[in-house]
Symmetry: C2
Subunit: 359 residues, 2 copies
């Protein structure tokens, strides 16, 4: 047993008299500190630090002993102190528009799978598709001095852009591909996706193709552009076939939109919903109302969510590489954080058309 006896306690246990500078162990938090571990192990604090952070610099046996002592004392390194001293927070801020949308959750998974093994923690912020909220979140997260930042899309407030420019922190934009050569981005072309699906519908012989959009999401609008261009190329574009609503997408919104379509508000033989949620809602509503899909109305979605393979009929859609987007964005960010410069500032991961029975 080593000598555990601390200096005798101060006369009054409440007020810490400013007496001797050397405290026995454990600060106000009651947690063991690195100095406590060092003392117990008979080494200096820096050696304990190295045993944890730079193991190759410490003799193996000593390291083992230090880790044992630390474990025995329930020592946990203090990340705040480490971040302050080393100017590295081992933290990455991730801003996404939504967490109920599985698209972004899968992106998060991809990010996590790359960054977590390297010791980075994610600070996840949900902007609810609002650039202003995004700015607020960014400001909050900057307090953590994140070593890197992952943003969704390129729809940011001026203040956000200013912050990012003033900061030296590496930043990667996910989902959309940016043209700005100073920005790093990983994603796929939403425009191309819209174009792709519309061409498919044209090939299938549909001539009165509608588009159903929610306005919140800028990616939706890029798909709309693709749709528009494809129809213009075919000489079939008619703005009256575009149905746009301000609400966030949901199954019930898709159902409601289908009602408006079937009830004659939009004259079309095929409807391209800007995402699978809406399309699924529409399909469900078709079942309820007895609308035959695709005979009476063809329905297409976007994203290829899990349930889209299971609806009746199964939904034609475009698969987006969202896990990969997260994965590759994180990999690119990692490279930037480690001072490398990635081969490509703009990584297009492509899209995959998924033809099923609904068209």
């Amino acid at each position: 047993m080593t000598n555990r006896r601390p200096d005798p306690p101060a006369p009054s246990p409440s007020a810490a008299s400013p007496g001797k500078p050397r405290k026995p162990r454990s600060s106000r938090t009651g947690r063991a500190t690195m100095a406590d571990v060092a003392e117990r192990a008979g080494v200096s604090a820096i050696t304990v630090s190295r045993a944890f952070k730079r193991p190759e610099l410490v003799a193996p046996d000593l390291r083992t002993r230090i880790l044992e002592v630390a474990q025995g004392m329930g020592y946990v390194p203090n990340q705040a102190a480490s971040a302050l001293a080393s100017a590295r927070s081992m933290t990455v801020a991730v801003l996404i528009p939504s967490m109920t949308n599985t698209v972004f959750v899968e992106t998060l998974a991809g990010i996590h799978d790359v960054l977590h093994p390297r010791g980075y923690q994610l600070l996840i912020g949900v902007s609810h598709y609002s650039p202003v909220e995004e700015e607020r979140l960014l400001r909050a997260y900057l307090q953590f001095q994140p070593d890197g930042i992952l943003l969704t899309g390129n729809d940011h407030t001026d203040a956000t852009q200013t912050y990012l420019a003033a900061l030296r922190s590496p930043t990667v934009h996910m989902m959309e591909l940016l043209d700005d050569p100073d920005c790093y981005s990983v994603g796929c072309s939403q425009f191309e996706g819209g174009h792709l699906m519309t061409r498919h519908l044209l090939e299938r012989g549909y001539r009165r193709i509608g588009f159903a959009a929610v306005q919140l999401d800028p990616r939706t609008l890029a798909r709309l552009d693709g749709y528009r261009q494809a129809l213009r190329e075919a000489g079939l574009y008619d703005p009256r076939r575009v149905l746009q609503v301000p609400e966030p997408s949901s199954l019930s919104l898709g159902a409601a939109m289908l009602d408006r379509i079937v009830d004659g508000e939009v004259d079309c033989d095929a409807m391209f919903f800007c995402n699978d949620d809406l399309a699924q809602g529409a399909l469900f509503q078709c079942q309820r109302r007895g609308v035959r899909v695709p005979e009476q109305l063809a329905i297409a979605g976007f994203n290829d969510l899990a349930a889209s393979a299971w609806t009746t009929p199964a939904l034609t859609t475009v698969a987006t590489p969202r896990y990969e987007i997260g994965h590759e964005s994180a990999a690119m960010l990692l490279a930037l954080m480690e001072g490398h410069s990635p081969a490509n500032r703009r990584l297009d991961l492509g899209l995959r058309f998924v033809g099923r029975d609904s068209t």
Copy 2:
């Protein structure tokens, strides 16, 4: 126009010569510090600190001026330094089993809505239903010295329990209700939910009621217990009607389970799926195979996900108050973090039976 001119830059912008101890502004990170703001505003650092954190202690005009100066310099407080000095990280660790399961995402939303306005940041960890992984995550998050901890369920490793006991950090367990009087918990009775649904099926006249479970989730097993007890009370329990698989739940797993049931592996006239994902998958598969629900087979789920109202037929299920669980857990944690003791250590938020067409 106020004077915006900063001190002239150091002669050599690259290497900061180790000359005078007084640095002009901005440390190695290049970011403005509190001292920089203080100097510019002509006050001491502590006043800047107070202007941000304890506004009531600073004269209003001075405070306004300080905030303006800070804004102009792009100053962002350093959370690591603040945490170190104040022993408060303004951080809460949240451990959930899954992020693809919307149940937990909605819980997160509830947590966020309470904690975010109070300035707390969430550290979100996903354990993938593994107590060992949960322990690893907890250890990682303890480095952040979180001011509070939110855990899911009560299925933890011994080491996790030890950590929590050694720590003084307030902890609230979500989802399940714990009997331990030393623990705080907010949730609903999974057992009661299983019992409730099974009673409903009995009332409807079903006599050969099966249960489909995934093993990963302890909450699932509690529902199974409720099911078992209800059937035992009715003298109708038969273990051969319990279908248990090890995989994580998904639509396709539900579909696969339905196949096994319909193909004769389980003799039943009603099937209680342990969650809506499985039940939805089963319903989809019924449509494909032409199994009439509920005439040939009744199907029930658990949780009441959004899509369950839209399937054909609509799914009978039990609604769980997951947003509320998150909300109330966070509220309880907040009380604990602020030193109050909540009225109730164990908050049961109840369940709601949702009868629809599938039974």
